[in-house]
């Protein structure tokens, strides 16, 4: 029993972060121990070796998304990429207008970058998605104003995994001459991205969501037609002046290798993960009153976000401590608010609180999924036996019509 308790939980939180693939870690190590030169050092072989590794990695990142390596700018991660793209481009082109269009379900770093621009004299629209999490193209088109300078839409949502129609949204932006930024942190290695054809001007990437190291990311900045951005980090003029700061060679090498592996293995890996996700979905849907959050068709195979009705969120998280998952419950978030993404889809507070995000990845096994299904079935049943709301539901009482005493 002690052994069982001390065992690590099963990791089903790949959308939060992924382990570094051992092949990636192996490739990184020499750039910490032996090839420690500064890639900006032009006067000796230490620098040249590091620079070569950085450029090879840049090539690999570009290849995964079919871009030119000269369009890739290294950053510290997707948060920085999103800040740099949104604030950098909006400021550079602010003569055109000072309105930003984004979606209410974007990642906090996009929302907060836009909020910062609002404090700086810009105005913003946070468009609500449809109840399935997808953006309605007509509503998006209507939300663009003559003074809209930039639109930002994520490719894959981090909480519910839905995939937006970036091509159609990008075409609307092109017609209206609006700069289009896409946060692709959750998309690399999961959906095909072809920037040669996609009408996207700026795209953010992260390494640690794709089996690379934390602390490294990239921003794609289109060359044709050329997009300009104002630097947010000033200094030695690295990355053609768009982002100063000594390049972390080992991190960059890791991102390059992670993206190379993603390019080669993506198709097979996605098929395997889809089977696991479908198995999990069917297993959980055996139960009554479970609701999938977000569209199932336009969705990466890695994500399953489910609400379990009549079960309170925090006790649910306590009950499933043998698996590592994320929850929409206030109790597990820093802000003490239920998931704003699920709220934007029109989910009630109760359903948002009782949601679990399962995210499956490279090292998830079928046995992990079987264990998870059984665990959830046992625990949900136990908590519902405890729940007066479940009893009322079973007695045919409409809980939304009950007058609850406020407390």
């Amino acid at each position: 029993m002690t052994e069982l308790r001390e065992r690590q939980p099963i990791y089903l939180d790949y959308s939060s972060t992924t382990p570094i693939d051992p092949r990636v870690a192996e490739k990184m190590i020499p750039y910490i121990t032996e090839h420690y030169g500064n890639p900006a050092s032009r006067s000796h072989s230490f620098g040249w070796t590091a620079e070569k590794a950085v450029e090879e990695a840049r090539e690999e990142v570009a290849k995964l998304v079919n871009a030119d390596s000269r369009e890739i700018v290294w950053t510290s991660g997707a948060t920085e990429s999103n800040n740099l793209a949104i604030k950098g481009a909006s400021h550079f082109y602010s003569a055109k207008g000072k309105h930003i269009l984004t979606i209410a379900t974007e990642h906090k770093c996009v929302i907060d970058s836009v909020r910062e621009l609002e404090r700086d004299g810009f105005t913003a629209t946070y468009l609500e998605p449809e109840p399935n999490g997808l953006v309605d193209l007509e509503k998006f088109k209507k939300a663009i104003r003559p003074d809209t300078v930039l639109a930002s839409v994520m490719l894959v949502n981090n909480e519910i995994g839905v995939v937006q129609d970036i091509e159609a949204l990008g075409n609307i932006c092109r017609e209206q001459k609006v700069i289009f930024h896409v946060d692709a942190a959750q998309a690399t290695g999961k959906v095909m991205i072809n920037l040669e054809n996609l009408p996207v001007d700026l795209m953010s990437f992260s390494a640690h969501k794709t089996y690379g190291p934390k602390g490294i990311g990239a921003l794609y900045v289109r060359r044709k037609p050329r997009i300009r951005i104002e630097a947010q980090m000033h200094g030695g003029g690295h990355e053609r002046g768009m982002r100063s700061g000594t390049l972390p060679t080992h991190q960059i090498v890791g991102m390059g290798e992670a993206f190379r592996i993603a390019r080669i293995e993506m198709q097979l890996e996605n098929e395997r993960i889809r089977k696991l996700r479908d198995k999990l979905l069917h297993g959980l849907q055996d139960m009554e009153e479970v609701y999938v959050n977000g569209d199932l068709k336009h969705r990466i195979p890695h994500n399953l976000n489910i609400s379990f009705n009549y079960v309170e969120g925090e006790s649910l998280i306590m009950a499933v401590k043998d698996i590592a998952v994320s929850s929409g419950s206030a109790c597990t978030s820093a802000s003490l608010e239920p998931s704003y993404v699920l709220r934007a889809l029109g989910r009630s507070d109760e359903l948002a609180h009782s949601s679990i995000r399962f995210s499956i990845g490279r090292f998830t096994t079928e046995a992990d999924v079987d264990f998870t299904i059984q665990l959830l079935k046992d625990k949900i049943q136990k908590l519902r036996e405890l729940s007066p709301l479940w009893e009322m539901f079973k007695d045919g009482i409409d809980i939304s019509k009950v007058e609850w005493a406020a407390h």
Partner: protein, 127 residues
């Protein structure tokens, strides 16, 4: 969040889960809280003709501390007179379970549930 061993024990092995017949004149039912607030407690007591609580049952929708608070009071209520039950204070529940400050409201809710169940019984019996 770190829970005390007592909270974990009640959460994992809740005592006296279930329902009594709410139409029984000897049964008082208290239902407090609201789903939107994240806690609903249903507490029921069956009281003998001489005013002693013979049985207590609960069902709770809520966090581990709410489940533990209501489970604990069902243990405490059995064998008590209504007057003694009325004297149970939330501070005693919070102390017994070592609830952190953010979970004190769970013990308040449990005390409210006791008072609500007693009031229901008394109104039923026309007292």
């Amino acid at each position: 969040m770190a829970y005390s061993d007592k909270v974990l024990d009640h959460y994992e092995n809740p005592r006296n889960v279930g329902s009594l017949d709410k139409n029984d004149p000897h049964v008082g039912t208290g239902m407090v809280g609201a789903p939107a607030c994240g806690d609903v407690m249903k507490l029921q007591i069956r009281v003998s003709d001489d005013g002693v609580i013979e049985d207590a049952k609960f069902k709770t929708y809520g966090c581990g501390s709410a489940i533990a608070s209501s489970s604990l009071v069902t243990e405490w209520l059995k064998g008590k007179t209504l007057d003694q039950a009325y004297e149970i204070k939330n501070s005693a529940i919070a102390e017994e379970l070592a609830l952190p400050p953010v979970k004190i409201h769970c013990s308040v809710l449990a005390e409210d549930a006791i008072k609500s169940a007693i009031a229901d019984l008394k109104s039923k019996q026309g007292k």
